[in-house]
Amino acid sequence: MGFFGDIWPLAVIGLFNGAIYGLAAMGVVLTYKTSGIFNFAYGAVAMFCAFTFWQLRDGWGLNQWVALPILVLVVAPLIGLILERLFRPVAALSAEIQIVISLGVLAFLQALALLIWGGSPRVLTSIFSTTAFDFTSKLRLSYTQVFTLFVAAALGAGLWALLRHTRLGVATQAVVDNRDLAELNGISSDTVSRTAWVISTMFAAVVGVLLSGQSRLDVYSLVLVVIFAFAPAVVGRLISLPLAFAGALALGVGQSIVTHWGSSGTLANLYASVPYLALFALLLLYGNRLKELRAAFQPVTSAPAAQPASRRKLLTMGTAGLGLAVVLPALVNEARLGNVTSGVVFASIALTLVVLTGWTGQISLAQFTFVGVGAFTVGHLAATDGSGFFWAAAVGALIAIPIGLLVGLPSLRLSGLYLALATMAFALTVDTMVFSQRRISGGTTGMSIPKPRIFGFSFASTTRFYYLAVAVLAVFAVGALVFQRGPIGRRLQMIRDAPLAASTFGVNLTLTKLAVFALSGAGAAFAGAMFGALRGSVSPGDFGFGASLGLLLLVVLGGRALVGGALIAGFVYMLQILPGLAPYLRYIQLGIAVGVVYVAQYPDGPLTVAADQSRRYADLLRSFRQLVSRPVESKVPEATSG
């Protein structure tokens, strides 16, 4: 017996989760290959469906065999159709925009679920009996596990058969191979992708119900669990359903086997980090074989860039902003000033993402990982009275450089979607494997961070720390502007607008991207030291994937290509922590999510949306006028317009 005897029961148990991941992986692959959209919101859809199920069964007391068909056959398809409709117009746009929109949908569903069902977790009992029986002396199974495996396998096989042996399958394949040709042959690619979204969402509903039956149901967990399915989806190159399913089974088994060594102690979190680590490693090693569907046809942005602000205008706005910042402490009380300081610190973090995402076009879902690096470094190195704070912050920034290079590494071979996935996997890996270590972060209790002190001068008072934060933000902003308007900024814009052209003229894409990752990471770490000092004490939970996601969404909302966008991001962040607005917090979050989806196509933020809209109105108005005034138009064009 020995080792193998201990392992195989774990392997069998792993199959159950693996099968559910398999459904999720297939759901993700299905919409990607038919519509080109990678649905980051898949976990959120599953979560929303699970809550809906809870509402139908536990909330309204329906029999679960009534509730389940309502969910899977009515609610889920409806959500699928809405999503398909939402994504159809952006299918031809850049991966960057699609990712941002699907992350916005994720946030929207979370906010909506919070609004409807509140923040307290629910217990969703399994739909099957949880009675357990001894399968062998080593292996005790429950009926719910067996049925879960059965249902998942049946659905997976059913989908496979459907695509294999029906007209729909043929049509799907035709659309995957060549959308335009399929259209010419009378196959409606819209119908195909609509069907795909419906099936995919039905799967999400099943995944949500099955997974929630095993643990508590809340707004966040499922989103993370469903990310487990992304690694197997990548194994199938986001194209192959059987490979995705097989990969998911392997992942479930591997993850389960790890618990043999790691059910306690330092490896306790290995279980959770296996899928993320697998995803990161897969993308890193296997990256050159991955191709984005139709990537060649995607323009980078859809909106025309705005004319950059003149130096004079910037100077005026900057002076006005600084003036306001200087007098602010006299205008608001100490508690509000603390809130403003949070916004200011957040804005400096946001700036580092503007450089990376807005100017270089690299979506990062790992920016708060660097913030954590800075905060924990200061926690370790600075004295408790705060002396040595700035040295420690500088060290944190230095440490962040190699980490930035590591995150940037996949960007050499990957772009768009795969890069976003890689940064996400990285953030989750560090979160579950590194930050969770007691020695690094102080574990769940966290670590206290002093307010800075330099040459005996302490920044401990609220007002002083506020001024320090403003100063750091000002330095960041001025630095960023100088950077943007100089040769480097020009080069970044070139890479973003036309990477291929830039490289043929001599831009080393690799080096440039890596440098930006490193620089942006270092900046975020320095800002992270400020973030830590602001909080007074930090724990790994502050720097998770959720924080990075929230940051990205706010930066997109503010305008990811603008320094001002970071300021807006900081402002909106502040709104979320103002106690006076607390009752409306969930509406604010909903509004942010909607705003993100709306602004996603406009790197220059809400103001260009407004400009674009008003231009459209102006165009409309002009053509209307021309229509009305056609007879005289050719003779006296000047006179009529004046």
Partner: protein
Amino acid sequence: MADSSAAPRLRAHGVSVHFGGLRALDDVGLEVGGDDIAGLIGPNGAGKTTLFNVITGVQDPDDGAVELDGVDISRWSPHRRGRAGIARTFQRLALFTGLTVYDNLLGTWEAATPGAVLGRQRQRGRERVEHVLEQLDLTTIAGRLAGQLSTGLGRMVELGRALCANPRLLLLDEPSAGLDPDETARFSAILRGVAGTANDGPAVLLVEHDVALVMDVCDHITVLDFGQRIAQGSPSEIRSHPAVVAAYLGQPT
């Protein structure tokens, strides 16, 4: 540096590229001398752009080699080739849309010039950019965003950008597509001014559907069809070449 008196500016030989079952290029060879304005013509889908992609290094060929002044650059990265003096324009405009026209040119010059951002060099870059702007009559639109230009102006900016890349070899992919007759005439005048025989001007390889323009400016023409080279020679030879007439030019009327 290799002995440039003996070797042609560009030599590509045995280049093959396939996409799935499609042979986009099949054992194609081509030479462009240092003073040449050479033409590359052929019907749609003949493989002209693909050959440009191979020369600039953005498309790995299945087979074949590319030499610049006698140096085999087949394994060089695109940016290294760019710095070595290969510059191109793109058939589907690939301007830096978020930058002004001026910055499109300046950024390109900086990318192509080692040590470009150092003090003394910067002045040289600005001079170069301003010179090219004047040459192409773009000075008035220097401050406009490249993304907001018409196709005609966009093509001019593409050309200006390539000229700012210190080119030794200029690859032009359908530069006159979308230009009106006036613009085309101006373009061919400009082309003669900057290229070939002019002092230190780059050699040019021109892909163009405007046959009159090609016959007019080119010293030497290569014809591709379905990925294969079907002819090469002087404009007059090409005009009467039976295979070319059949595949591309059609009967003169």
